[in-house]
C-alpha cells in the first residue's frame, strides 16, 4: 500500500475514491490504510506548496549551517530539539560532513533572521558556530519546478 504514499506525496487533494480506482483496491481499504499511516505518523502532515514570490507577502528564508557539541547520553537529539522548537525554524536536519545541523529559518526581513541567529541560536550552550546563507530565489522545491514553462506541444492527433 506504499503506493498510496507516493500518490499523496505528489497530490494530497486526490480523493480516496480515486486512489482506490488507481490501485485497484476498495475505498474502505484505502481509507483504512491512510488512517493507519496517520496514526503511525508515517503521514505526518498535509502541506501545500506555494510560490510566495508571486504574492505580496514579503519574507526571507535562510539556510544556517550549525556546529554543535553533542550532549552526553542524548547525542544531537536534545540540542536539535532546543533549536527546532523555535517557530521561526521551518526545517531542521542532522547532517554528515563539515557541520552538524542544517536549520532552515524564515523571517520577515534579513534583519529579523540575523537577530534570531544572534540572540537565540548562537547563545545556546551547545552551539559552537553558525554560518547563515540567505535564499535568493527558489527554482524548485519538493520535486516541483516553480516556473515550469513546459507546454504540451504534441500534435493534436497521433495514430
Amino acid at each position: 500500500m506504499e503506493e498510496i504514499l507516493e500518490i499523496l506525496e505528489k497530490n494530497n487533494k486526490i480523493s480516496e475514491e480515486q486512489i482506490a480506482v488507481m490501485l485497484n483496491k476498495s475505498v474502505e481499504e484505502v481509507r483504512q490504510a491512510i488512517k493507519e499511516y496517520e496514526e503511525k505518523n508515517v503521514i505526518v502532515g498535509y502541506n501545500t506548496l506555494i510560490n510566495w514570490e508571486k504574492t505580496n507577502k514579503e519574507f526571507v528564508t535562510a539556510l544556517i549551517e550549525v556546529k554543535v557539541t553533542p550532549q552526553r547520553g542524548q547525542g544531537f537529539d536534545k540540542v536539535a530539539e532546543r533549536i527546532y522548537r523555535y517557530p521561526e525554524v521551518k526545517a531542521c536536519y542532522l547532517m554528515s560532513g563539515g557541520f552538524d545541523l542544517t536549520v532552515i529559518v524564515e523571517g520577515k526581513t534579513m534583519k529579523e533572521v540575523a537577530l534570531f541567529v544572534a540572540e537565540k541560536l548562537s547563545p545556546l550552550d551547545s552551539v559552537l558556530s553558525t554560518a547563515t546563507h540567505f535564499v535568493l530565489k527558489k527554482y524548485k522545491d519538493k520535486g516541483t519546478i516553480f516556473e515550469d514553462d513546459h507546454v504540451d506541444d504534441r500534435e493534436a492527433v497521433v495514430l
Binding site: 503506493e3 507516493e6 500518490i7 497530490n11 480515486q18 480506482v21 488507481m22 490501485l23 485497484n24 513546459h150 504540451d152 504534441r154 500534435e155 493534436a156 492527433v157 497521433v158 495514430l159
Partner: protein
C-alpha cells in the same frame, strides 16, 4: 503533364491516414482535451536528453555506421536478453532504424512483393497495410473482436493463411486496443506457425508498457526465434518519439537484406539520437518504472470512467490505450467522436481509423495528465447519458 497521372496507382489509391475531416476538426479546436495523441506526454528523461546534448557539445555530428553504433547495438542485445530473454548477436542480428516505422517498411520491402500475402490483424497501427501495398504485396486482414479481448486466435489465423502467405504482422501490446498476447495465447499461435514458412514481424514497440505480467515475445519460443523479426524502439518506453530511433532483431540473412535497403535509402539513424539511446538503455529503469506506474493508475481511472459512463470496456493490459465500445449510444464511431468533440471538447479517435472492425469503438489514450483524464471522463459520462437509450 498531369502530375497525379504520374503517381503510381499503388500509392495514389492508399487513402491518407485516418479520417481527415475529423482530424482537421480536432486541429482547429485548440482548447479540447486530447485523448487522441498516441505518444507519451512525458518528456524524455533528463539523463537521456543530457547525453544527446553532450554528444553535440563533443561535436559528434557525423554519420554513424549504417547499422548503428556498435555500442548501441550491444546495449540493445543486452536489453533484449535482460528484459525478454532473447539472445541476438550485436554484429549481424541487429539493425538500428529511424523509429520502429522504418523497420516495418524495410522488413516488408525485404520480404513481401507481388503475389505475396501479408496477414494483418486489425484493429491495428495504421502503417502496416500501406507499407504492404507500397511493397507490392497484398494485405490480408484478420478482424479481431472484443469477444476475444482483441487477441489473435489460432482459428482466425488458420483461416487467413493461404499458400501465398509470406508474413504475419503481430502487433502486441496493441495500438489501438491495448490488448496483449500472453504466453498461453502465443503458444497456440506458435503451434499454427511452427511448421510453416511464414515470417512473423512482431511489432513490440509497446513491450515496456504492460500492466499485469511482463511482455512475452513470440521470438522467445525456440521454434520461432529464427522466423521472427522483432521490431522495437525507444519512442514509447523512453518517451523518445521525436528522436526517431528504433531497431530490429532477427535472423542474420533478413537483417542483411534489410541492411541493404536501409543503407541506400536512409544511410543511418540520427547520430545524436543514438548517443541518447545508449544512455536510455543503460540507465533508465527507474524512470521507465515510474512512467509505467503512472500509466497504470491513469489506465484504471479511465477504464473505471468508461464503465461508470455505462459503456462496455474490456480491460486493456498493455500500451496506453483504452478501447471502449460505444454501440449502446446508437452512434457510429465517427459520429461519437465528432459530437464528443463539438459538445464536450474531448478528442478521441474513431475506431475505424484502425480498420473497419474498429466500428463501434473509439480509441482513448491515457498518455495525458491525470487532471485531464479525470475532467475528460466527467464530460464523457455527461455526454453518454444524453445519448444512451
Amino acid at each position: 503533364m498531369n502530375m497525379s497521372d504520374m503517381i503510381l496507382p499503388s500509392v495514389r489509391n492508399v487513402p491518407p491516414s485516418g479520417i481527415r475531416k475529423f482530424f482537421d476538426l480536432v486541429n482547429e479546436m485548440k482548447d479540447a482535451i486530447s485523448l487522441s495523441i498516441g505518444e507519451p506526454d512525458f518528456v524524455t528523461p533528463w539523463n537521456v536528453r543530457e547525453s544527446g546534448i553532450y554528444s553535440l557539445e563533443k561535436g559528434r555530428t557525423h554519420y554513424s555506421p549504417n547499422a548503428g553504433f556498435i555500442e548501441l547495438r550491444e546495449e540493445i542485445c543486452r536489453y533484449q536478453e535482460r528484459k525478454y530473454g532473447l539472445k541476438y548477436s550485436s554484429k549481424d542480428e541487429v539493425i538500428v532504424t529511424v523509429g520502429g516505422s522504418e523497420g516495418i517498411d524495410i522488413a516488408l520491402r525485404a520480404l513481401a512483393g507481388p503475389g505475396d500475402e501479408v496477414i494483418i490483424p486489425e484493429p491495428c497501427f495504421v502503417a502496416y497495410k500501406p507499407c504492404t501495398v507500397f511493397a507490392g504485396a497484398t494485405p490480408v486482414v484478420i478482424n479481431l473482436s472484443a469477444e476475444n479481448d482483441f487477441r489473435l486466435t489460432p482459428e482466425l489465423l488458420e483461416r487467413a493463411i493461404t499458400d501465398k502467405t509470406k508474413v504475419l504482422i503481430l502487433p502486441f501490446p496493441n495500438n489501438p486496443t491495448g490488448a496483449v498476447m500472453t504466453e498461453t495465447d502465443l503458444r497456440k499461435i506458435v503451434d499454427v506457425l511452427k511448421d510453416r514458412d511464414i515470417v512473423v514481424i512482431s511489432d513490440e514497440i509497446y513491450s515496456e508498457l504492460t500492466y499485469e505480467g511482463k511482455h512475452v515475445s513470440i521470438a522467445s519460443f525456440s521454434e520461432m526465434k529464427e522466423k521472427t523479426l522483432v521490431i522495437n524502439g525507444f519512442s514509447k518506453a523512453f518517451a523518445m518519439t521525436g528522436w526517431r530511433l528504433g531497431y530490429c532483431c532477427g535472423h542474420k540473412d533478413l537483417i542483411a537484406a534489410m541492411y541493404k535497403i536501409h543503407q541506400y535509402a536512409i544511410m543511418c539513424s540520427p547520430t545524436t539520437a543514438q548517443y541518447a539511446g545508449i544512455e536510455a538503455l543503460r540507465n533508465s529503469d527507474e524512470d521507465v518504472g515510474e512512467m509505467v506506474a503512472e500509466y497504470n493508475r491513469r489506465r484504471r481511472i479511465m477504464v473505471d470512467g468508461y464503465r461508470k459512463a455505462g459503456l462496455e470496456c474490456f480491460e486493456p493490459l498493455g500500451a496506453f490505450y483504452v478501447f471502449p465500445c460505444i454501440k449502446s449510444t446508437g452512434l457510429s464511431s465517427s459520429e461519437f467522436s465528432e459530437r464528443l468533440l463539438m459538445e464536450e471538447k474531448v478528442a478521441v479517435v474513431p475506431g475505424t481509423a484502425f480498420g473497419e472492425c474498429g466500428e463501434g469503438f473509439v480509441r482513448s489514450c491515457y498518455a495525458s495528465s491525470m487532471e485531464n483524464i479525470v475532467e475528460a471522463m466527467k464530460r464523457i459520462q455527461r455526454f453518454v447519458k444524453k445519448y444512451k437509450k
